[in-house]
């Protein structure tokens, strides 16, 4: 799957940097509209069945070193960005709640955070298109949105989901099967082929081996290629050339020792919430606002764990098969926004790391807990994180193999995140105790890389406009989680894909 070959000396209509949720849908849309598109991907191409059902051997994560600081440093590596054709969609968890309309107007409604310059109706229209094109499994009746429908029935609940359903019911909370971006029945995906029904293998985060899970390499990218786009794996963007009007005239990228220049009319930078701002800061462009790297956000992702008097074997089944949106506005929490709750099944290394880092365990308790892996189960949240000026990405003095300075991210929970964390610990502990868990404890954790190139109304306070267009470099557009003005409690991937289609449509409309 590499597609039509374009010569580097030909000026293509668009170069897309990154093939994840931000780059792939727009590459497909632009190619379908007849534009010549080259998508550059730093990682290699995988067949789905090449993925490895092993936490340490899975080779789909962005493992180049990042520096993490602040009062609550966030983990990178397998926790966040991906590397490979498909980007982090290769390893994402496929948990795909829709963004809450209130979250897009947080500033208006609460005075905190930021509003989105994109209307919710507009975003939802694109989200429905993404859900339709990729295939989502979910409940027949969604308790928090009566109009919502999913194409496929939900996947099997696992033991952790059953426990969460039991616990929620006992304390009067609503929970249901989670919307999951995977197919619970075989599906023929246009231009890819058969995506097989989920077999409950539990290794979504190591890469889906039968293409049940939505990933870009099994959905939008084959569509893009079928419409003439070219995907070039193993290409690391290191620089841009400019014309005398300040427009990017070529994208400079490295393949091993060699450098290449792809001439182009427009660039879509879709490298994610860390690599996108890092490239801009390293090249010193698109930052007249001084906003590049600022307002880094990571979801509050606190977990609560416990031991059950049953053989749970939580690695079985779709890992997050139950959801509750009851806490999207926890009235008594003292925070703006709220959080989603999901059941958790994790594999042993993930649990071990959480215990050692996020719960500060060692010694007999650590080892006994891990030996009891088959009886453990957890629940976790995805909680709103507000943009804060001091939570930011900048550049370390150390450089990478390409001579670019490494990313340094400083991230600290502020009062809002602390309030969400506090509230969620209490609620989840109640749920878990009601479900029959013993030795209940919490694990500190944050997840996702959001913000750093925020979109907004004006060039003073934002990096890109509502259509993803740089205020400074006329033919540079950005589309990934870096442009989010606020975090939204919903996991970002669905919103990124929707924004990607929207960015492409707005770009196509604006063309002369």
């Amino acid at each position: 799957m590499t597609g039509t070959h374009h010569d580097c000396r030909d000026t293509v209509d668009a170069v897309v940097i990154g093939t994840g949720a931000g780059g792939a849908p727009l590459a497909a849309r632009l190619a379908a509209a007849g534009l010549s598109v080259v998508a550059l991907e730093a990682g290699r191409a995988f067949r789905p069945d090449e993925h490895v059902a092993d936490e340490l051997a899975a080779d789909i994560y962005w493992m180049e070193e990042r520096l993490s600081g602040g009062a609550t440093p966030t983990a990178f590596g397998s926790n966040n960005s991906g590397m490979g054709v498909g980007g982090s969609m290769l390893h994402w968890g496929a948990f795909c709640p829709r963004p809450d309309p209130r979250d897009l107007q947080l500033k208006t409604l609460t005075g905190e955070g930021a509003d989105w310059p994109v209307p919710h109706d507009d975003l939802i229209r694109y989200i429905e298109e993404v859900e339709g094109f990729t295939g989502v499994s979910g409940p027949a009746h969604y308790p928090w949105d009566a109009t919502r429908r999913y194409a496929y029935p939900p996947v099997a609940r696992n033991a952790a989901a059953e426990a969460m359903a039991r616990g929620c019911a006992a304390i009067g909370m609503t929970a249901t099967d989670a919307p999951a971006a995977l197919v619970s029945r075989d599906r023929e995906q246009p231009h890819f082929g058969q995506r097989q029904a989920c077999v409950n293998c539990g290794t979504c985060h190591q890469g889906c081996r039968n293409a049940a899970k939505t990933s870009m390499d099994t959905t939008y990218l084959p569509y893009a290629v079928a419409h003439g786009a070219e995907i070039r794996p193993g290409c690391r963007v290191v620089d841009f050339d400019y014309d005398d009007r300040g427009r990017i005239s070529a994208v400079v990228y490295a393949t091993g020792e060699q450098q290449h220049r792809q001439r182009c009319n427009a660039v879509f930078l879709c490298a994610g919430g860390v690599e996108t701002p890092r490239l801009l800061l390293n090249l010193g462009i698109a930052n007249a606002s001084g906003q590049v790297g600022r307002n880094f956000m990571a979801h509050v992702a606190t977990q609560v764990w416990g031991r059950f008097d049953a053989d749970m074997r939580m690695n079985r089944g779709y890992p997050s098969s139950l959801i509750s949106e009851d806490m999207m506005r926890p009235g008594d929490a003292g925070c703006a926004g709220g959080y989603l709750i999901q059941s958790l099944g994790v594999l042993p290394v993930n649990l071990a790391t959480g215990l050692a880092r996020g719960a500060g365990m060692w010694g007999e308790r650590l080892q006994t807990t891990l030996r009891g892996y088959n009886r453990m189960a957890g629940i976790g949240i995805n909680g709103e994180c507000l943009p804060h000026a001091d939570n930011r990405l900048d550049l370390a003095d150390e450089t990478d193999a390409f001579g670019h300075r490494k990313a340094r991210v400083r991230f600290s929970y502020h009062a809002n995140e602390q309030a969400i964390d506090r509230h969620a610990r209490r609620v989840m502990t109640d749920i878990w105790q009601a479900a029959g868990a013993q030795d209940v404890f919490a694990v500190d954790r944050s997840a996702h890389t959001i913000g750093t190139c925020r979109m907004g109304e004006d060039a003073e306070s934002a990096v890109v406009d509502a259509d993803g267009r740089s205020f400074e470099v006329p033919n540079l557009l950005i589309c990934d989680n870096s442009i989010f003005p606020s975090a939204l409690a919903a996991n970002p991937a669905l919103t990124i894909m929707a924004l990607s289609l929207r960015t492409a449509d707005r770009f196509l409309t604006s063309r002369p």
Partner: protein, 449 residues
Amino acid sequence: MIRPTLLMLHALGASGDEWRQVRERLPDYDCVALDLPGFGAAAGQGHADVVTMADQLADAIRASGAPACILVGHSMGGKMATLVAARAAAGEYGLSRLLGVVLVAASPPSPEPMDEARRAQMLGWCADGAIDRDAAETFVDANTAARLPDPLREAAIADVRRSAPEAWIAWLERGSREDWNADIGPIAMPALIVAGSDDGDLGEAAQRRLNQPLYEEAEVAVVADAAHLIPYEQPDALAALIDGFATGLAASVLPRAFADLLGSARVSRRTRAAMLARLRPPRPSDWSAAQHATIVALTGQILPDLADADDLARRVEASIGDGGGDGWRFDSLPPDRIAWVRGLATLDTVTGGFAALDRSVQADWLDRLAAGEVGCDDDGRHLSPAQMALWFEDVRAEVVRSWVALPATMAAIGYDGFAVGGDGPRKQGYVRTQADTVEAWQVQSEAVA
């Protein structure tokens, strides 16, 4: 302790009988000495080419009920041993029980160095049919440093004479000349390479040049007063070497049901290869004895109930040493390796030697470490209290990650999430996901007996 089964492969013109003396000296081991097609009791089968013999060997591993095995390949048999080891290390179905390889004066997977006049002479011996006694005597005597005692010499001569001529010719004309090196990467499996001090074309120099580079970790041993027929010539020395090698791999033996599952069609080739690579003994690292002692002590505090804290500590050291990292580090710490060097130095400085302390005293220090109360001035050689707290978090994570990822740990906790999809057109996954439902194929937790 479970001892691995020894699967023994003979040389050209020999048979499984060549291993009799060695086997008598390894009474605690199950030994299976095969007769390759065209030789010994299998002389009537005519010849089989190299790939067919390797396939038969792979099938023999699959068919053996042994939880673990080691291939011992002599001369011609060594070529097949290396080919099968490469396939096993790459994750081939059913070969996960293979723990290591002993090569004895082994023919390499590349063309065997052989004087063309000698090749022509040997081919001439069976130009008219079976090899006669004079030729067989010449062959045996030429391949021994000193004349063998008569009973052994007669047995060796008889084996040469009953070899199928087509098998003899096929090896000399084709098998020994075939080049398989392009199919073989560095083989991630321990190997012991044995050479005879008086051997010619397949002596120590050839072994170091042609066989050792194919393995990631291979030790070369030279047996004195032996030429090419080492199993006949020096069975004491060879048996002792095999025993030492096998004993060193005892920690790699997995519980039987777990080993069967790992080898099964429910596991993909790439997944199996990754887990097998982790089954191998830890790679050597360059930490000092004092640093190692402190890491062992820390490992034993973080995971108090370990069968072998030293082994796990070495795995942690290798992981830190190779600089691969986990994709990030704390902003306030130097790069991982430097942070570990300084963290260990700081720990020893403030405690006056951490490793030598009582376990309960060590535990108290770690409590204070985690609370950010213990450290030195950040003078470029030590870490501050705030840095020490972060470093100790890294240490915990690295130690526990290394432990949980070991196949033996997975077996002990009853984890089977690696066996959820092989390389077939449909992945198996789990049919049952609810509590207290276990499918028949799943393993219960089991430790090595």
